[in-house]
């Protein structure tokens, strides 16, 4: 494909521009793209994109209240405000994730399709987290077996859940027994 502007060099920059809901395809060579200022060859910044998304309200579906930056708390640990985040696209410290969790969740869902981590866990926390995850999964299974009236399998799962709960509570099982009495 030739460059749309000079018609000489091959088009190596392909862009889709969406303006006023109109989609437009642009094909330029690197030189023309630079000259026309269409493409800034500075590394493209995810932060600026994120900041743009947050600012445009794209992230928050219509039925959900868009968080007002001024009504959001400020991170007590590093002093980052939600306005800082919407401006830079960067959080300030680990604590920010807790501080802004409510406002961040819709964004995480939009980016990742999920708000729950299911992958690797640091070894020091590993056992507990894995047990809790296993528990959540088993409880879902239990529910499915009960709905299908497959009580034998449900009983097996129930015993497994009991065991995991015992593990989590450090061996003391008396309280959890009641759940299944």
């Amino acid at each position: 494909m030739q460059c749309e502007r000079c018609g000489e060099r091959p088009a190596t920059v392909h862009m889709t521009r969406i303006m006023n809901n109109k989609k437009e395809q642009i094909h330029l060579c690197a030189q023309c793209a630079r000259e026309q200022g269409e493409l800034n060859f500075e590394p493209f910044s995810v932060q600026s994109l994120l900041a743009g998304l947050l600012g445009s309200g794209f992230v928050y579906p219509a039925f959900e209240q868009k968080p007002k930056p001024e009504s959001q708390p400020i991170c007590q640990n590093c002093g980052t405000s939600f306005a800082d985040f919407t401006h830079t696209g960067r959080l300030g410290c680990a604590q920010c994730y807790e501080t802004f969790r409510e406002a961040l969740n819709p964004l995480l869902r939009r980016i990742h399709g999920s708000v729950y981590h299911t992958g690797k866990v640091p070894r020091c926390l590993g056992r507990q987290v894995h047990t809790r995850r296993g528990l959540a999964e088993l409880q879902e299974q239990l529910q499915r077996f009960i709905e299908r009236e497959e009580y034998e399998q449900a009983a097996v799962i129930r015993d497994k859940i009991r065991e995991l709960k015992r593990e989590l509570s450090g061996g003391d099982d008396s309280e959890h027994q009641k759940d299944f009495a």
């Binding site: 932060q47 300030g92 980016i111 990742h112 999920s114 981590h117 690797k120 809790r132």
Partner: protein
């Protein structure tokens, strides 16, 4: 090993043959990690960044005693401030550091293993970016090894982690696993047969991103693209790696089909194109980086299709780096203007390509 030696060295991983390595040049896994007790790098004071660099220097000493990690030779920490601008440029060209680390502020660091398979960028966007780089399609192996280095570092450093969000990162696009897996692919036949765009836009629909070979915002040079995962939260690492591997295998299959079609329908034109590329690269006296990369892509295809014999395929991967402006200047030991670079590039290409056999028909 001095940084200059690392730069000029052709790492072992680049010299061998690996799975799908006729189309997949390399596999990389990167893990983003942050410290629980420090603000993210863009909010760190110079003193905090310096202290963290020192903590990393100690952690590296410890990691070097790990059996699995030490198989890759001792890891050494370099301060980016001690590396010249030219050398930084060449490190970017070798994919050992990101452009952001090269141009960023003070107290940034880089850790590299002797064989260049493992590296860690320090105080870039996140405190740590652990990387593992392998030839060919080996994402699962790269993830396993990067994860081992992560485990070894975790014995010395406490990483920021929340049960809900996973590993915490400065930018929420990396949160969760912190894992970015990427693969560099050479797809000349898909480009020639004008199928590349269609296939690559389909990748976007399954959560994969396609970029030029130097990452975000760079051009696709020499028909080489980089494919990586977009989503880092909600999927298990093995799943992310397996999904990307499956997608890459499909692109490989499409590229192979396109190559077969070209060989069946346009054999003579292919021979001509490759022969011309080989001729120019081996006989020019002044050659720009752009032209060199474009022709090198043809030569690599010529090697894969059997038009050119007596040259290892890895020559393309190596020359792709060695003909870049930064590398040429580090090799020369001085700054060179554009013409001098074009002359040196031509000389390098002549010496590398003339030693091979010439074109059979």
């Amino acid at each position: 090993m001095s940084i200059k030696r690392i730069l000029l060295d052709i790492p072992r991983w680049m010299q061998g043959e690996a799975e799908e390595s006729d189309i997949v040049l390399s596999s990389r896994v990167r893990l983003a990690r942050n410290m629980v007790d420090l603000p993210f790098p863009h909010l760190m004071t110079a003193a905090q960044a310096e202290t963290f660099l020192q903590r990393m220097a100690e952690a590296v000493q410890y990691v070097n005693q790990d059996d699995l990690i030490s198989q890759h030779g001792p890891m050494v920490l370099y301060r980016v401030a001690d590396i010249t601008n030219l050398e930084r440029q060449a490190l970017v060209e070798k994919h050992l550091i990101s452009p952001q680390l090269a141009t960023g502020g003070q107290n940034r660091g880089l850790v590299i293993s002797e064989d260049e398979v493992l590296s860690v960028m320090i105080n870039e966007e996140d405190h740590l970016r652990i990387q593992c780089l392998f030839a060919g399609l080996q994402l699962e192996a790269a993830w396993q090894l990067a994860s081992s280095l992560d485990d070894a570092l975790e014995n010395r450093l406490e990483f920021a982690f929340q049960e809900q969000e996973g590993y915490l990162t400065a930018c929420p696009t990396n949160v969760g696993t912190g894992l970015r897996a990427s693969v560099m692919m050479h797809i000349p036949a898909l480009v020639m047969t004008k199928q590349a765009e269609r296939i690559l836009s389909a990748l976007g629909k399954v959560g994969l991103v396609v970029r030029g070979i130097y990452g975000e915002g760079t051009q696709a040079l020499g028909n080489v693209i980089q494919v990586s995962n977009q989503v880092t939260l909600g999927q298990v690492e093995g799943e992310i790696v397996a999904n990307l591997t499956a997608a890459v295998k499909q692109i490989v299959a499409q590229e192979q089909l396109a190559r077969e079609a070209l060989m069946t329908n346009n054999r003579i034109q292919m021979a001509d194109r490759i022969g011309r590329a080989f001729g120019i690269l081996g006989n020019s006296h002044v050659i720009s980086s752009e032209e060199a990369v474009r022709l090198l892509s043809d030569v690599r295809l010529g090697i894969d299709l059997g038009f050119i014999t007596g040259l290892p395929a890895s020559v393309f991967d190596q020359l792709l780096v060695q003909t870049r402006p930064g590398y040429l200047q580090v090799l020369a030991g001085q700054e060179l203007d554009a013409l001098e670079r074009d002359v040196r590039r031509a000389q390098l290409l002549q010496s590398k390509l003339r030693s091979g056999d010439n074109m059979p028909s």
